[in-house]
Symmetry: C2
């Protein structure tokens, strides 16, 4: 069943049927009714690809995500998808499984006009390529902020959040604060490391390079890096960890060494994933507005697609330090007092 068949049945031209569907206000009430009756009675559905081909818009966007099984990204994705569907767009999922090659394969879809725009939840591509891409297609970078990059971006301020998280530990009286980073190849890791260092320096604490260990984002790597830190001659008394997965691994390592969190070691994580609330002790962690990041990224993309361009706008959303039990507010207060 195609539009011309509907037209015949309704005794109008195909153009009129098309108008009823796309611009009903251009058609007289009676004609409209007549056509709608036929459409409903034969259950006609317009051929999406034909329309896309004719109008040159697919109403599809592509979302490239480094790891779809991650609790963090899947919530951002939900935000994107929800707004997309509400606005009449569909989402093609591009799970790169952390591979740059797959990232580039997906981006090919844009050149083939398979999608009207792109949201990147990961940016392993270099700055030049990203800007070039952004010049050619509607593009939004979410989660990762890249300094001096001329591409619309939605993210939190990772540097200041990391600084805040570290300062929380310092204010609790800790001086030997370690940091387990994410893969140092990604900007996020470098930003959070920067924030950690800023906090240390501004409180005149020494940054012991043995206190900085690189993890790979997984629970196990948090576990292993923590064992390393614990076996130092002077182990830290507090650790700021790149993400919650690793932070939980850190806690597990501490437990396995017959020590306690927060009594012996205070831990702060990052992301506030669902599990961070369930794990014991409940994590102190930086909550990112995951759904909101997705939502705003999609809205920014839509603005570009519809041409309400906003000169490469950056949106920085508010994060929040969620106080759990993994830093020991109370015992820390005591420590501060002892110092005084």
């Amino acid at each position: 069943m195609k539009m011309s068949d509907v037209a015949k049945l309704a005794k109008v031209s195909p153009a009129t049927v098309s108008r009823v569907l796309c611009h009903p206000e251009l058609v007289s009430k009676e004609t409209r009714q007549k056509v709608m009756d036929v459409i409903n009675s034969v259950n006609y559905k317009p051929h999406a690809v034909a329309r896309q081909f004719r109008t040159k818009e697919t109403r599809i966007i592509l979302v490239v995500v480094p790891d779809i099984t991650s609790s963090f990204f899947s919530e951002v994705l939900r935000g994107i998808e929800h707004i997309a569907v509400t606005s009449g767009y569909q989402v093609i999922l591009g799970d790169t499984e952390n591979s740059v090659e797959r990232e580039e394969e997906y981006i090919n879809l844009l050149y083939q006009k398979q999608a009207d725009g792109l949201i990147l939840l990961t940016a392993r591509l270099n700055k030049k390529k990203l800007e070039e891409l952004s010049g050619q297609f509607p593009l939004v970078l979410a989660c990762e902020y890249m300094d001096g990059l001329n591409v619309p971006t939605v993210s939190i301020d990772n540097i200041s959040s990391a600084r805040k998280a570290t300062e929380h530990l310092i204010k609790l009286g800790h001086t030997k604060v370690a940091h387990i980073t994410g893969p140092i190849s990604i900007v996020l890791s470098r930003d959070r490391l920067k924030g950690y260092k800023q906090a240390m320096v501004s409180h005149e604490l020494e940054i012991d390079s043995a206190y900085i260990q690189e993890g790979d984002q997984t629970f196990d790597s948090g576990y292993n890096q923590m064992l390393k830190l614990l076996s130092l001659e002077t182990p830290p008394t507090a650790v700021f960890v790149f993400n919650d997965d690793m932070a939980m691994g850190v806690i597990k390592a501490v437990k396995d060494c017959y020590m306690s969190v927060p009594e012996d070691i205070a831990v702060v994580g990052f992301d506030h994933i669902k599990m961070s609330v369930i794990y014991e002790p409940k994590l102190t962690t930086v909550a990112q507005p995951k759904y909101e990041i997705g939502k705003q990224a999609m809205e920014l993309l839509l603005k570009q697609i519809t041409g309400q361009l906003m000169n490469k706008k950056k949106i920085v959303l508010k994060d929040e330090l969620i106080i759990g039990a993994s830093c020991g507010q109370n015992s820390a207060t005591t420590r501060t007092l002892e110092k005084i």
Copy 2:
């Protein structure tokens, strides 16, 4: 840049360019080379939608998932996506956020020919509608098995897995075994409940209807239902729980009542999500081959799309009972001995 432009530059017809791209074996080596050189030098990419429109295949499939933020579904999705991309297909993500209406909206995409096939990770639709859909479009149902439904399906045998899980508790010496179900409106919940009952009956244990509580799949609901069970006059000594999220909530409830898992209450979960290994005590749980379910679902869908139809085949994959610490293998053995 379109195909006819490339053709002009290469001094051949558009048909030849098309053949170079789609059926290179039909073109002489020299012509092919000449055309490829032009394609590369101008970086021509064929217009995907035009091709889709002409060939009547989108090489897009639709995956409808009830909850993209769930660790379980996102791993199944990864399996689907991986095989899809490897086979030259793209995946449109349909996150229903557990709403039946949204499920139907997504399915509309099939009628509009936006996708070549559909994988359902949730089936709230009734049997008749599903079979009708399956008659019209390539369709695979994954995760949920529906009795007597004539639709290709990939799943585990939920009844026998649930029976096995419950029997594990019974063999450990428990006679007062409770079950916290999922939402009883979904088939999976009813199947696992069935398995639980089978195990109880076949071991001649009484099924106390107060021992069966309906949860909603979340941690919190596991927590709440467990509190209810613990406040019974004769509380159970073991609980088989519909999924791991709720099982962790159950454990938390037990702890909060100053009791221990597994000493006071033994717990078995379902799914073997990542967190189940990290949580303490480590869950005993039924592992579903999540990635494999996704993979096989996609392969089954591809077979339908390419017309290698396999009379509404069902694939039942093997699950595995993973023994953690939440059932107390040892203490249980003791109990059994005591009984003797």
